[in-house]
Symmetry: C2
């Protein structure tokens, strides 16, 4: 299996983290998502939506969308509950992540680290941060009574939500007011086979520091 991904992307890191924790073999092909590398004719032939991550099987079949990839990889493993209702709850959190969490927390981070310091997109940051905090408040509430988002054990909904929550501060969204989220992040970092996300490169790090 080949994974096409951009290492500092949380959506891409989700796939790497699960593959590592499952002990699966895979090849990683690095493709930046901020310079057009995912929209070349060769890449658009594989994913017409022009995004990473996606996986390509040895027979050429392609699966796109990070959370659909997680769900497919986790089938039949402990990372996805057997119980239909718990599976549905995990999937619900994964749709929450892509609709109510990532578009604010990941996009704020992308703007801070991967757009010029004078980008007009920076005018969106206050609204993105406000909506990001709304998503975190929903997560904090859940974690006040439950340990995980994937039923009664760690699984793919946790991986999906971990990806950008653990770097929310890159987008100017601090986690100080969310003690249950901070405990949950620590629990995930102690799961077997955990691998951290790649740090932003020095240029992105400098932009993030200037955006604080």
């Amino acid at each position: 299996m080949t994974v096409y991904g951009f290492s500092p992307s949380g959506n891409c890191h989700k796939v790497r983290l699960l593959l590592e924790q499952l002990g699966r073999d895979y090849r990683w092909v690095e493709k930046r998502s901020d310079d057009g590398s995912t929209r070349t004719p060769e890449m658009l032939a594989k994913n017409p939506n022009g995004k990473v991550p996606f996986i390509e099987l040895d027979d050429g079949r392609v699966l796109t969308e990070s959370n659909a990839i997680l769900h497919w990889l986790a089938e039949g493993t402990s990372f996805l509950p057997d119980d239909p209702w718990l599976r549905a709850q995990a999937l619900s959190w994964m749709f929450f992540e892509q609709y109510s969490h990532e578009p604010y927390i990941a996009v704020a981070r992308f703007i801070c680290g991967w757009t010029p310091i004078d980008s007009p997109r920076r005018a969106d940051l206050p609204r993105l941060r406000e909506r990001g905090h709304q998503a975190l408040a929903v997560m904090e509430r859940h974690l006040s009574s439950q340990s995980w988002f994937s039923g009664d054990r760690y699984g793919i909904a946790d991986i999906a939500l971990f990806a950008y929550t653990c770097v929310a501060d890159h987008g100017g969204i601090a986690l100080e007011r969310y003690p249950a989220i901070r405990d949950w992040l620590s629990r995930i970092e102690r799961t077997p086979g955990f691998v951290p996300m790649s740090a932003p490169d020095p240029a992105a790090r400098a932009l993030i520091d200037q955006s604080a």
Copy 2:
């Protein structure tokens, strides 16, 4: 089962359409999503994310996120393929819908029909329409070689994508240039048990007409 939903919402209509096509019994509780009705204390106790649709079982358990609800309802039916790879492809299209389609096509429609004619949000319409057309181009390409988004037959990925595609013109996104999409919409309208989405109320209809 009780469905909480706003009838002119495509996300809510998805649930109604599948329940009707499955012949399931359900109670529908109408909750507008444009006037705070989904964020009352009573509603936030059921869905802390403050959105509709969600379903509530007779024992009080709640499932949120339209596409997670579809997936749960379709399990074991012809609306979700048995083959794991085809299931994964259907789920991939459902994540595409929530990330790359709905935030443009549904939001453009909402702004046109459910915000004042002088709303500052209307400045977003050109960008939303451009991104909406990008999503439709990806769908058109798929439909040029395949009939459905849920494997080899009509299913929940088709329902998910149908919901806002069929009313894209309300947001000023015309379907003229997408013959395969128009054929696919017609095929869906002829599936057994199909029910159309509620028309916008007269106030929304008037705003849509003024927004063209």
